[in-house]
Assembly symmetry: C2
């Protein structure tokens, strides 16, 4: 079992605020995510700026692409993104078209996706999935459950690299102990605390304590 990566999600509305956030924690994290909110607000200029500041980091464009996979992925790659996301209800041709243009692709799991669909993603060459607690579902009071953890275990058993996200805080990480998580994706749990750099280091230390 490898050490899970730490991914920071920049879900800012404004590019300058995302850049301020990332200068606090960019050196501490493994993957820098231009969040959907940021991509839609500022376009690929956000990815270009992150690439300019962090030439050696993995940069993910969280487009949650549903169609026109080839074009969207090409634009992400041209802007400097290594990885991109597609939404789980995209068609297989959309996923395949996107996968050709970027180094790797993550399928974002929302709604009533099925393991039978997951098999088709695997057959199409996709190996990364993101298991999500919807931000809005979290606002509505839902949280991580044994049902979630079992689904994650099953995806890992199928051979997927599974990243998890949604309201993650340092205290949440231990819920996933014993599961081969590929990356933990944190946003406001790191960005919106008094000392984001220290928070990122504490996340990394907790990951090392549990999985190291």
């Amino acid at each position: 079992m490898g050490l899970p990566k730490l991914q920071i999600a920049l879900d800012n509305d404004v590019l300058s605020e995302a850049l301020y956030s990332i200068t606090q924690v960019g050196d501490e994290v493994d993957v820098i995510e231009a969040g959907t909110i940021l991509c839609l607000a500022e376009g690929m200029e956000a990815v270009r700026c992150l690439r300019a500041l962090y030439p050696d980091k993995i940069i993910l464009a969280d487009t949650k692409c549903a169609d026109a996979g080839g074009t969207v992925a090409k634009n992400c790659a041209l802007a400097g993104a290594n990885w991109m996301t597609v939404i789980c209800c995209a068609t297989i041709p959309t996923m395949k078209a996107a996968l050709k243009e970027v180094q790797d692709l993550q399928v974002e799991l929302y709604g009533d996706w099925t393991f039978a669909e997951a098999e088709t993603w695997m057959e199409a060459g996709l190996v990364q999935v993101v298991y999500h607690q919807s931000r809005d579902a979290l606002f509505a009071g839902e949280t991580w459950s044994e049902v979630d953890l079992n689904k994650i275990r099953q995806l890992v058993a199928m051979g997927f690299k599974v990243s998890v996200t949604g309201g993650l805080e340092m205290e949440t990480l231990r819920l996933f102990a014993g599961i081969d998580v590929y990356a933990f994706i944190a946003g406001r749990g790191i960005r919106d605390v008094a000392n984001p750099r220290q928070a990122a280091r504490e996340f990394k230390a907790e990951i090392k304590r549990i999985w190291g």
Copy 2:
């Protein structure tokens, strides 16, 4: 049965090209769509520019939003969009949060959505859906079938305003005769012909011939 609207989808990679396209046909169409490709490439500046050029038109931001509905919708509305899209596999809280911020919301139908899910959208106050032939599916050779048309009829019967899109050309419109289509969404079928303005007028004339 009302006259279906004509919506132009601007799926350009570059803002200036979208603006060039819209100056050709903006006066002829009912709804101007900042396509997903354009929103992700150029951000909400694309919507701001379209609003600046067409202060009185309905402008749609085709974000295909899957999460953080409230934030994404607020950003779209601030930029000047009237309508926004959400993806069908978004959660109901995401859809409800988005609906609060914009004048209207369209659910984009991709993948294995069900009529049972459509009932939950209706209960959540969503009345617009977009029936899609995936761009990538079209590239893979799929086209409009009686199965598609029957699903559209069923959605209309449920009370939805149904817009249709995907590889629409003027010759395709007659396939939908007798169906209460809310809007036809055309992209390259209008933008990428020798005379886009004439193409838009011919689309409108054909709509009037069939539904008028």
